[in-house]
C-alpha cells in the first residue's frame, strides 16, 4: 500500500546536502525563507530535475519578478510578502510503510475521512496523498499500470516519463500565463500526473488529498492530466488545512488535455482554512486551472465545491478547440465571516459545434463577499457554438454581498448563448418551517443551502457528494441565530 517509493526516499536523502552554501537539516528538509533564483535552483536540484525543466523554472521566475499582480478580481488583498514564506518543505519522516506514519498524521486522515487502507480497499479509490509537497504514498498503481495508466507524482513523472511531461506541461497554462501561474511554474514542488492511454476507461476514481502541514509553507502543486484518444478519467481533488494564524499562499496549476473522443471529469472539494470569525488568518487560494479539449468530440467537466480559504481566486476554464467538443463548469462557492471569493470560468469556443454549460451557485453569509466572474468567448470559426449559463446567488444575513459578472464575447453571429441569473435570501418563513419540524436553525440552513446547490452536488462522485454536503453545513456554522 504505502509505496512511498524507495526512489523518493533515496532521492531526498541524497539531496540532503546542498552545495550552494546553506546547510539543510535533513530532518526538517526545508529551504530557507524567501524566494530567489537560488531557491528555484535548490528545488530543482532537490528533485534531480533535467536541465530543460530547471531552465523552464528560471524563465518563469524571471517573468514572475516583472509581472504585476492580477487586478481584475473583486478582492481586497493586502500586499503579499513573498520573501516571508518557505518554498520547499518535505515531510520529516521517511516511511517504508504506512504503519510507521506519525499517529497525529493518521488521526488527521481519520478526521478527513480518509482512513487510507480502508478507503482504498472498500471504495476502490486510488489515493495519491500529497503531504507537504512530497508524495508520501501512492496506491493501486500496479492495478492501473496493467491497463497502461500512469498515476504518480509529477516529480516521479519528470524522472520516469520526461517525454510526456516535456510535451504537455505548460501547453495549456504557459509559465507566463499570470503572476500566480508564473510563481507556481518557478517553484512547484509536487502534484499529480495522470496519463490515460488511447481507448482506456480508467477503472476507478483517481483521488488526491492535499494538505498543508508545515507552518508558513506555501503550497505550489502542479497537476497534469492527459486523456489520450477515446480515454476517460474522473479525478477527485480534496483539501483541508488546519487552524493557522498567518496567511498562507497557495498557488496551484492544473492542466487537463483531452484528445479525440476523450473525457476528463475533474472534481474538487476545497476546504482550506478560511481564517477565524474576525477574518484573521486563512489561506490565499490563487489557482489556475484550465483544460484543453484538443480533439474532436472531447469533453472536460469541472465540478467544484469551494468552502474554504480567506481569499479564493480561481477560474477553471475550457478551451474548446476540437469540433463538437464540450466544456462544463459546475460550481458551489460558499463564503462566511470575512471570506472573499472571486471565482468562475472561461469557455473559449474555437471549434465547430462546441457546447458549454455553466452552473454556478454562490452562497454568502456573515460579512463575506462572493463574485461569479465568467467569460464565454465564441471565435469566428465556431459555427453552431452553444452556451448555457445559470448563476444563482443566495444571501444569508444582511451584511454579505454576492455579485455576478458574466462577460460575453461573440465573434460568430450564429452562436447561441443563454444566460439566467437569480439572487435570493433564505427566508425567515423557510427557517421557521424547518424549525417547526424539529431542525435547529443551523440544520435548517444546511438543508436549505444543500437544496440550493443540489444541481451541482449531484455531479460529484458519490462519496465526495456526501462529504460535500456535510461541508456545506459545517462551513455555514454560526451564520444564523
Amino acid at each position: 500500500m504505502s509505496n512511498i517509493t524507495q526512489d523518493t526516499i533515496d532521492t531526498v536523502k541524497s539531496l540532503g546536502k546542498y552545495e550552494a552554501g546553506f546547510v539543510t537539516d535533513i530532518e526538517s528538509d526545508k529551504a530557507p525563507k524567501g524566494l530567489s533564483e537560488e531557491i528555484v535552483r535548490f528545488i530543482s536540484a532537490k528533485k534531480n530535475e533535467p536541465k530543460w525543466l530547471l531552465d523552464w523554472r528560471l524563465k518563469a521566475f524571471m517573468h514572475w519578478q516583472a509581472m504585476p499582480e492580477p487586478q481584475w478580481g473583486k478582492l481586497d488583498i493586502g500586499p503579499i510578502d513573498y520573501q516571508d514564506a518557505y518554498y520547499y518543505a518535505a515531510p520529516k519522516q521517511k516511511l517504508s510503510s504506512i504503519d510507521e506514519a506519525d499517529p497525529k498524521l493518521l488521526a488527521t486522515f481519520e478526521k478527513l475521512g480518509v482512513p487510507m487502507a480502508e478507503r482504498a480497499r472498500l471504495a476502490g479509490v486510488a489515493v495519491d496523498v500529497v503531504f507537504d509537497s512530497v508524495s508520501v504514498a501512492t496506491s493501486f498503481r500496479e492495478q492501473l499500470a496493467e491497463v497502461g495508466i500512469i498515476f504518480c507524482s509529477i516529480s516521479e513523472a519528470v524522472q520516469k516519463h520526461p517525454e510526456l511531461v516535456k510535451k504537455y506541461m505548460g501547453s495549456v497554462v504557459p509559465y507566463h500565463d499570470n503572476k500566480h501561474a508564473c510563481l507556481n511554474s518557478a517553484v512547484f514542488t509536487d502534484g499529480s500526473f495522470v496519463y490515460i492511454p488511447p481507448g482506456v476507461r480508467c477503472p476507478m476514481e483517481l483521488s488526491t488529498y492535499f494538505r498543508i502541514n508545515e507552518m508558513n509553507t506555501g503550497q505550489f502543486e502542479r497537476t497534469l492530466i492527459i486523456a489520450d484518444k477515446g480515454a476517460y478519467v474522473s479525478y477527485l481533488e480534496g483539501c483541508t488545512a488546519p487552524m493557522r494564524d498567518e496567511n498562507q499562499l497557495h498557488a496551484a496549476v492544473v492542466e487537463l488535455i483531452a484528445h479525440d473522443d476523450a473525457e476528463i471529469k475533474y472534481s474538487t472539494v476545497q476546504n482550506w482554512y478560511p481564517g477565524d470569525e474576525e477574518g484573521k488568518g486563512g489561506i490565499y487560494n490563487f489557482v489556475t486551472k484550465r483544460g484543453l479539449c484538443e480533439g474532436k468530440n472531447s469533453k472536460i467537466s469541472w465540478t467544484q465545491v469551494e468552502t474554504g480559504s480567506a481569499i479564493t481566486w480561481k477560474y477553471p476554464s475550457c478551451i474548446l478547440k476540437g469540433d463538437n467538443s464540450q466544456g462544463e463548469f459546475y460550481s458551489v462557492a460558499i463564503t462566511n465571516n470575512f471570506q472573499q471569493a472571486d471565482t468562475g470560468t472561461k469557455m473559449i469556443h474555437i471549434g465547430r459545434n462546441t457546447k458549454s454549460r455553466i452552473i454556478s451557485k454562490t452562497i454568502s453569509a456573515g460579512k463575506s463577499d462572493s463574485t461569479y466572474r465568467g467569460l464565454v468567448k465564441i471565435m469566428p470559426k465556431a459555427e453552431g457554438a452553444r452556451n448555457f449559463t445559470q448563476c444563482d446567488s443566495l444571501l444569508i444575513g444582511n451584511q454579505c454581498g454576492a455579485h455576478t459578472v458574466p462577460y460575453i464575447e461573440s465573434r460568430n453571429p450564429r452562436a447561441s448563448l443563454e444566460h439566467e441569473a437569480t439572487t435570493s435570501k433564505i427566508g425567515d418563513d423557510q427557517l421557521f418551517y424547518c424549525q417547526q419540524r424539529g431542525l435547529s436553525a443551523e440544520e435548517a440552513v444546511a438543508l436549505i443551502v444543500n437544496g440550493f446547490c443540489r444541481e451541482v452536488l449531484q455531479n460529484l462522485p458519490m462519496e465526495f457528494a456526501v462529504e460535500a454536503q456535510k461541508l456545506v453545513g459545517i462551513s455555514l456554522e454560526g451564520s444564523v441565530g
Binding site: D428, C434, Q436, R437, S440, L447, N450, F452
Partner: protein
C-alpha cells in the same frame, strides 16, 4: 395536555393576543373559529415559537412543560406540530430528505436512535398509502409545484410521520375542494386517539362536519369570547361573527 393562561402577545409592537386562556385536555379536539384579524394565526405562531411574535405576559405549558422557554425545534421535539396555512417551499430539497432529517432531529433531541434510510422508507410508505400520497410527490422538492390540496395533504403526511402529541391545524381547509377536504380530514381523524390533542383553526363550519370537535371556541379581538359544543359552530355559520366583533369593539 396544552394549557394557555392569560396570554398577551405583540407583533411589530402591536398587541394581537390580549389575555387569551385555553385548556385542551389529552385526547380532545378543540376548534377555534373567528373573524379575520381576530388573532387565530398569531396564536398558532406564538405557540410554535415563530420569531417576531413576542409574548409580553402569560404562560403556555405542554404536558406541564414551559413551552415559552423552548426554541421552536425543542417544541417540535416536545410533541408540538403546526400544520401551516401556507406551507413553505424549499427548492432542491426532496420531501423524503426533509422528512427524514426532521424525524431524526426530533428523535435525536429525545435521545432516541435515528432511523436509517431503509427503516424510514418503510415508515414513509406505510403513511403515504393511508393518505394517498404518490411516490412521485415525495420525490419532488418540499411544496414546490404542489397544488393547494397537495400542500395540505403533505402537511398531514408530515404530521402522521412525526406523530406529535399536540397538533395545530391552521386553516387546513382553506383552498381545498370537497374531495381533498375529505382525504385530509380522514388523515387527521386516523390520528385521533387518547394520547393526542388537536387545535383546529378554521373560518368555516364545513371542516367541522368532517373533523368533529369536542369543544368549539369563538375567538375575537385576541381573546376566547365564547366556548361550547359542536352546535356552536353551526350557530356561527348561521349568524356570523357580528355579535362578537361588536361586543369586542
Amino acid at each position: 395536555m396544552l394549557k394557555i393562561t392569560n396570554l398577551h402577545a405583540t407583533v411589530g409592537g402591536k398587541e394581537i393576543l390580549k389575555g387569551l386562556s385555553l385548556e385542551i385536555p389529552a385526547g380532545e379536539v378543540h376548534a377555534i373559529m373567528g373573524p379575520n384579524g381576530s388573532g387565530k394565526s398569531t396564536l398558532s405562531y406564538v405557540v410554535a415559537g415563530r420569531a417576531g411574535y413576542e409574548v409580553t405576559a402569560g404562560e403556555i405549558t405542554l404536558n406541564g412543560r414551559d413551552v415559552l422557554a423552548m426554541a421552536p425545534e425543542e417544541r417540535a421535539a416536545a410533541g408540538l406540530f403546526l400544520a401551516f396555512q401556507y406551507p413553505v417551499e424549499i427548492p432542491g430539497v426532496q420531501m423524503t430528505t426533509f422528512l427524514k432529517t426532521a424525524l431524526n432531529s426530533i428523535r435525536r433531541q429525545r435521545g432516541e436512535a435515528e432511523l436509517d434510510a431503509l427503516d424510514f422508507l418503510k415508515l414513509m410508505k406505510a403513511k403515504q398509502k393511508a393518505l394517498g400520497v404518490t411516490d412521485e410527490m415525495i420525490k419532488r422538492p418540499v411544496n414546490v409545484g404542489f397544488s393547494g390540496g397537495e400542500k395540505k395533504r403533505n402537511e398531514v403526511l408530515q404530521m402522521a410521520i412525526l406523530e406529535p402529541s399536540f397538533a395545530i391545524l391552521d386553516e387546513t381547509d382553506s383552498g381545498l375542494d370537497i374531495d381533498a377536504l375529505k382525504v385530509v380530514s380522514e388523515g387527521v381523524n386516523a390520528l385521533r386517539g387518547p394520547g393526542r390533542s388537536f387545535l383546529v383553526i378554521t373560518h368555516y363550519q364545513r371542516l367541522l362536519d368532517y373533523i368533529v370537535p369536542d369543544v368549539v371556541h369563538v375567538m375575537a379581538n385576541g381573546r376566547i369570547v365564547k366556548s361550547g359544543g359542536p352546535d356552536l359552530a353551526r350557530e356561527l355559520e348561521a349568524k356570523g361573527y357580528a355579535e362578537f366583533t361588536g361586543e369586542a369593539a
